[in-house]
Symmetry: C2
Subunit: 136 residues, 2 copies
Amino acid sequence: MSAFVLHPRLAADTAFVADWDLSRVLLMDDARYPWAILVPRRADMTELFDLDAQDRAALTEEVARAARMLKAMTGAAKINIGALGNLVPQLHVHVVARCESDAAWPGPVWGHGAAVRYEPARRDAFVEELRARLAP
Amino acid sequence: MSAFVLHPRLAADTAFVADWDLSRVLLMDDARYPWAILVPRRADMTELFDLDAQDRAALTEEVARAARMLKAMTGAAKINIGALGNLVPQLHVHVVARCESDAAWPGPVWGHGAAVRYEPARRDAFVEELRARLAP
């Protein structure tokens, strides 16, 4: 059984927030949207149905928890949740706080223009806020 | 407690496939992609975290089941799963079979051009195939 290694594309596009029971929690480095990514720390997972049922239930609870917290932090109009993986095959779940004034509303964030990187101090402050509010 | 009523926009854009334990299973009337939508038959649900944990686990298993079956039916390169709800607030989960030759690959299907309605006989045949393969 191989070990979990974060896909390099995910590593390049995100900042580390925390390891929860199952998932690595990342902040997408795109200042346009408050955007977390949860990656189950299991090797060789691509589809939701690759996980066993217990991990799938755990992932769902962690996704719901991230969604609830992003909603509380941002007052978002809607949380968007997605597991696409057309470009990055490692199973990962996007949790994105959307508001009616954001760049892509009401369309999806995926494939909508290029990411706008955070100013590093702002990114680090957001990561710290996430760590505090999303602590296990 | 109000009763579950399918949102009229979802009703207009889909064909009924089946009622599973929790979810109404619909076929999106868009011949560009094999595309199911699962709607938990609970009133007044918008976000994943509005469901209680038991329903959330049930929804996840039903989504995984729909995903597995669409993958088996179509040989899709990837299943895309999404709960967006920016336009239709009733909680619903998209399960979309994607292939590298489809209209939106590798981008998301949401917001990508206008739906291409099925020729009715073809839609009905697909619904019948889904009913047979996705029977409870």
